[in-house]
């Protein structure tokens, strides 16, 4: 009993550190959250280098990869702002059976997730076009 309450307190405090970002029991929103954090940290690293030697860029294909990182953070960030302000959140789903997969949110939020992912692909494609085709022509 003692161990169980300690275990619950440990989880309630969210003391699992970085390993707590990756938990198989969670839904797609949780994966998006982990990806949002990782891309955020990578963008901070890029921005520091971009400032330190002014205007630094990783170059051709790495620029396209940077585009994937930045556009994911942007697209998912739009979804997060909408959710934070209470737009298109949907209702919490009642878990009826213990065997039921945990689904935190149903309804509109599903479509917002799909919208964010589609927006991510479109923006990443545009960024890649500029990084791989327009930039080399500009010299």
């Amino acid at each position: 009993m003692e161990a169980e309450s300690e275990f619950k307190e440990y989880y309630a405090k969210n003391m699992r550190g970085i390993s707590g970002w990756f938990n198989r029991a969670y839904t797609i929103e949780r994966w998006l959250y982990a990806a949002h954090r990782i891309t955020g940290i990578l963008i901070v690293l890029f921005v520091l280098a971009h400032f330190y030697s002014t205007g630094w860029h990783p170059g051709l294909w790495w620029d396209a990869l940077l585009g994937i990182i930045v556009t994911f953070h942007t697209a998912n960030g739009i979804r997060l702002i909408l959710a934070e302000l209470g737009f298109a959140v949907g209702k919490p789903l009642l878990i009826k059976k213990p065997s039921q997969r945990p689904v935190s949110i149903e309804g509109v939020q599903r479509y917002v997730v799909v919208f964010a992912l589609v927006l991510f692909v479109v923006l990443a494609a545009i960024w890649a076009y500029y990084a791989l085709i327009v930039q080399p022509m500009m010299g």
Binding site: G40, V44, T74, I78, E84
Partner: protein, 106 residues
């Protein structure tokens, strides 16, 4: 400042980054639109000043949020927040000077 206010400003900064960052990207990557944007250097410097402020706030607050989640202790949280604030202000001051040199204002 209340944590909810800080996070609201975090989202406001995110929207500002989307607008000013798009202008920054177009100015440096699109030959046609870029020339039109850089036709007025003062406005572009203003855009970059807003972009830098919003980006630094958003980036450093993001790092702060991750750090204080790793170390959920009230005393540590306070010191981390102050350290991040001071580093952020110093970076903005240096960054503005670098921007003005790079855009030919100093």
């Amino acid at each position: 400042m209340r944590e909810s206010t800080i996070m609201f400003l975090h989202y406001v900064a995110a929207v500002l980054i989307m607008i000013t960052g798009l202008i920054h990207l177009l100015a440096n990557n699109d030959p046609v639109i870029g020339a039109a944007i850089k036709a007025s250097p003062v406005l572009y410097l203003g855009n970059m000043a807003i972009f830098l402020a919003a980006l630094l706030y958003h980036a450093f607050n993001g790092v702060r949020v991750i750090l204080i989640e790793m170390v959920p202790d009230r005393c540590w949280t306070k010191w981390i927040s102050w350290a991040i604030l001071i580093v952020g202000i110093v970076t903005y001051a240096v960054g503005l000077q670098v921007l003005m040199v790079a855009l030919g204002f100093a």
